[in-house]
């Protein structure tokens, strides 16, 4: 997998942000489906060029958190700020424009569209045709595999290729913050490594990454911050993850 190009991610139209500058600040988030609340009180920060990892068991509220941040579920409490701007009231579309993009769980690409058309849909919020085209070409440059199959139907690609396409789709708008929901799920170890390398490269290029992962030994080593949640509440958090972090998390995830 090719390394990321540092020029590829930072939106040239916005003021460049320094590594470590907070991009997304979530405090006391509460969210859920209708009257069922899945996230009760969660605070976390995503910084430019850094990877924040959100861990927890099945049903702990990880996906709910991501969906609420992406505008797919209502935020029921707390505040969410992107570069100091409150985004809680924005629609999903406005949030994509503001620079926050979610790659959902499960390789959700559009099977009937070609790779290139999938990327077009990824850039649907980009008004300028040239900017959109540029974003698509950048995404294709980043993933030579996709460039090779640009006219192939997404449904005919393998699972790993679809996952990479799903990430590439989200990158067309050059998001400031990328939310990833279990990108390694169901991928072969080799492909998993590629995907993780992509995530690291994106961070290296200045994107803030919020990563939800199941496989602790993949996620913790690349994390700059780790938050562990249970029952929709934060139970452990560290800005200096190390050996002990993996131990704490493993302990929690495998015991009751």
């Amino acid at each position: 997998m090719s390394a990321a190009r540092s020029s590829g991610v930072v939106d040239p139209t916005s003021t460049p942000v320094a590594v470590g500058e907070p991009l997304l600040e979530v405090s006391n988030l509460a969210a859920g489906y209708g009257d069922i609340r899945a996230v009760w009180d969660l605070s976390l920060t995503v910084e430019a060029g850094r990877i924040t990892v959100l861990l927890g068991r099945n049903g702990a509220g990880k996906t709910t958190t991501l969906l609420a941040l992406a505008g797919m579920l209502p935020i029921q409490g707390g505040s969410v700020q992107l570069l100091g701007r409150d985004i809680a009231g924005m629609s999903a579309q406005q949030r994509v424009r503001a620079g926050i993009a979610l790659v959902p769980e499960g390789k959700r690409v559009f099977h009937r569209l070609s790779v290139y058309d999938n990327l077009m849909v990824g850039g649907v919020t980009v008004h300028s045709r040239t900017a959109r085209k540029k974003g698509i070409e950048e995404a294709l440059d980043r993933f030579p595999l996709l460039a090779q199959y640009r006219n192939k139907r997404a449904g005919e690609m393998s699972g790993g290729q679809q996952q990479i396409l799903a990430i590439a789709q989200a990158l067309v708008v050059r998001p400031k913050v990328l939310l990833l929901d279990e990108p390694s799920a169901g991928l072969a170890p080799k492909i998993m490594d590629d995907v993780i390398a992509v995530v690291q490269a994106l961070a290296a290029a200045g994107t803030g990454v919020l990563l939800v992962e199941q496989v602790i030994d993949i996620a913790v080593p690349i994390a700059d911050r780790v938050t562990l949640i249970e029952g929709g509440r934060e139970i452990y958090s560290t800005a200096t993850p190390g050996e002990d972090t993996a131990a704490v998390v493993t302990q929690h995830m495998s015991h009751s």
Partner: protein, 644 residues
């Protein structure tokens, strides 16, 4: 799919809203017992109304009012049939008027050909209704939803065509005149007697509907509406259940048509025009399509309109259009739903809501274990473990592959399950565990390979047939139907393997009552094993996730399956609940079932499983005892943590 989304306002009124302040001073001392008495016998209200309407001809009513009663009774039957199909079975039927017209032409043809006997006529029209129901429903219900609605809509168009094709029978566009009065045991029936007979027929039909939808059979409708997937996995064939509802719903339409032919002694195609067809739909929407008595309300209201205003005729379509649109937009469950909700609100204000709720719970005597266990009823879960009973290769999975598009979800998976043992299926998210479960329970067809359970090949068997063969399962997201008590949600598992047919359900035979008691007794046993017995009469969908999981496990266990598939049963459980589940699984060792446990929690797997099988990328990478498997380097690399 989520059942909780479908929680209707009724459930909210009954379950989730806290009772208002009880004004003890305003209540008479007899209020509570009377409320409890009436709540147990809520059928007294429609029964009393029915008796009054039977005497309508002698109450000195105007001819117009009597006309409303007669047409109201006729259309109650038609609309009630629509409600059974639409409100209960979930398939919108727009062309019920065709079957109604068929009944009317049968009435006209019979009477002008010397057959006037009521019972012969009703039987013939019912048979014709069933026939049309089958002809239209068999293909039409293959694809549910829009398709059936449009196929049934087509029927409206065919009425004038058929009338003109068969002028000898239908009288063509002029219709059939001079229809003789019906006879009952040779006696001519006209005037007041006709009205009484009509009202009695409509009343009896409503009684049938009531008995059907409140029976265990009727609960199957709630299941298939809330989740077809759950219905199939509980042995209820969605297609057949819908077909039965449509065919049964056709009977009253045909009978109503037959009675209509004798109302004015005249039948013509102008009685069955588009506006009439639409008025039936409007009546269903306005009255409330998921209600037994909503049909009466809708039918009567829609008959009043044309009779009170002479200018109605020219505006009829406009008015029906507004009623259908506004009715569907504004009301949930039509006027009947509205009345139920206001009723509960009133009872809460009066302080009787809790009394009524409590009174409606069946007494423990109703579900006590029957004295002698009936033949075929299982007692297996209660049996003591017998380790010698383990049979290897009880379930054989051979070379199963499945791909979606370009993705190989399962690649040549072979494994075998031992009877009386718990086999854990583990693997990362997306490794193919749930796909394998879905293939075992018949939701997916594998591209290659075969599955043999106790010598029986599963290929080609539907999900519901597999349940009857003894394959039970739970779901990752618990599938619990709203507006159903925990007791009944668990008892659902018993119904399709010890079924009570429609006729017995409607007639409430002693056998059907015993079956209900039997199912509830098994449900109670299963619940007590999982420690959820004390919640038996609370609303299942309102339970916390952990309890809903245990409800599913109890439901799957109730009629001792041969193969039990558990999809992550421990996730979301509290420590105590997890312990209860672990103990239950330990007790299942040595039973006659093979348990396949899909689980993420390694600790839990290590403590309860006898064997483990690890999937990675849709391939089996290790099999053996949990201890062996966990030491396997490939497993260590793929699941517990990757060596980097």
């Amino acid at each position: 799919m989520s059942a909780s989304k479908q929680t209707s306002a009724v459930a909210v009124a009954e379950g989730n809203v806290p009772s208002g302040p009880v004004d003890a001073d305003g209540k008479s001392p007899f209020g509570e017992p009377i409320a409890a008495f009436l709540a147990r016998r809520s059928w007294l209200f429609p029964a009393a109304l029915f008796v009054v309407i039977c005497f309508a001809p002698w109450l000195g009513l105007t001819p117009t009012t009597l006309r409303v009663i007669q047409l109201g009774a006729i259309f109650t039957m038609v609309v009630s049939g629509v409600n059974l199909t639409w409100g209960y079975a979930g398939e919108l039927t727009l062309g019920q008027i065709f079957i109604y017209a068929l009944g009317a032409y049968i009435g006209g043809y019979f009477a002008t050909h010397g057959i006037t006997d009521l019972f012969v006529g009703l039987a013939a029209s019912a048979a014709a209704g069933v026939l049309v129901g089958l002809i239209v429903g068999l293909p039409g219900l293959r694809v549910s939803g829009l398709s059936f609605a449009m196929v049934s809509f087509f029927l409206i168009l065919l009425i004038p065509d058929i009338a003109s094709i068969l002028p000898g029978i239908t009288g063509g566009f002029t219709g059939i005149f001079g229809i003789n009065d019906i006879t009952v045991f040779g006696t001519q029936i006209s005037g007041n007697a006709y009205i009484v007979i009509l009202v009695v027929i409509a009343g009896m039909w409503l009684l049938i509907v009531r008995n059907l939808v409140t029976s265990e059979y009727g609960r199957g409708f709630d299941v298939l509406r809330a989740s077809p997937v759950l219905a199939e996995s509980l042995g209820i064939s969605v297609y057949r259940q819908k077909l039965k509802a449509y065919v049964i719903g056709s009977i009253p339409a045909a009978m109503a048509g037959f009675m209509f032919a004798h109302l004015d002694a005249f039948v013509s195609p102008s009685d069955f025009v588009f506006a009439t067809a639409v008025s039936i739909i409007a009546a269903s929407v306005i009255g409330g399509n998921r209600s037994i008595y909503g049909a009466v309300i809708g039918a009567v209201l829609l008959q009043i309109g044309p009779l009170v205003t002479s200018s109605f005729q020219s505006w009829d379509l406009t008015i029906y259009g507004v009623l259908v649109l506004v009715g569907a937009l504004v009301t949930t469950g039509g006027i009947a739903g509205l009345a139920t909700r206001s009723g509960w609100r009133l009872m809460r204000r009066l302080g009787y809501a809790d009394t009524i709720k409590a009174a409606r719970i069946p007494r423990p005597a109703d579900d006590r274990v029957p004295a002698s266990p009936p033949e075929g009823a299982s007692t297996l879960v209660a049996q003591a473990p017998d380790p010698s009973d383990q049979t290897e290769g009880f379930v054989e999975i051979r070379g199963v592959s499945k791909s979606f598009g370009g993705n190989n979800a399962l690649d040549d998976v072979s494994m075998s399950l031992t009877r009386g043992a718990v086999t854990a299926l583990i693997g990362a998210n997306g490794s193919g565990k749930t796909t394998l479960l879905n293939i075992l329970s018949g939701f997916y067809q594998p591209n290659a390979g075969e599955i043999i359970v106790d010598g029986t090949k599963l290929a080609g068997r539907s999900t519901s047939a597999r349940y009857k063969l003894g394959i039970g399962r739970t779901f990752q997201t618990p599938q619990v139907v709203s507006e159903m008590a925990v007791m009944d949600a668990v008892a659902l598992g018993a119904w399709s393997r010890d079924p009570v047919g429609i006729a017995r359900s409607v007639l409430r035979t002693p056998g059907s009552r015993r079956a209900l008691a039997r199912h509830r007794a098994s449900a109670r046993r299963a619940m007590s094993r999982l420690g959820i017995e004390d919640r038996a009469w609370e609303e299942a969908a309102a339970m916390p996730l952990g309890t809903r999981r245990l409800i599913e496990v109890a439901r799957a266990l109730i009629e001792t399956p041969r193969m039990l598939l558990l999809d992550e049963p421990a996730s979301g459980l509290s420590v105590g609940e997890r312990q209860a589940l672990g103990e239950l699984l330990a007790r299942l060792k040595g039973s006659s079932m093979a348990v396949l446990l899909v689980e993420h929690n390694v600790e839990f797997v290590m403590s309860v499983a006898d064997y483990a099988c690890v999937l990675d990328q849709g391939r089996v990478i290790a099999q053996g005892t949990p201890q062996e498997v966990m030491r396997d380097p490939a497993v260590v690399a793929s699941f517990t943590g990757r060596v980097r």
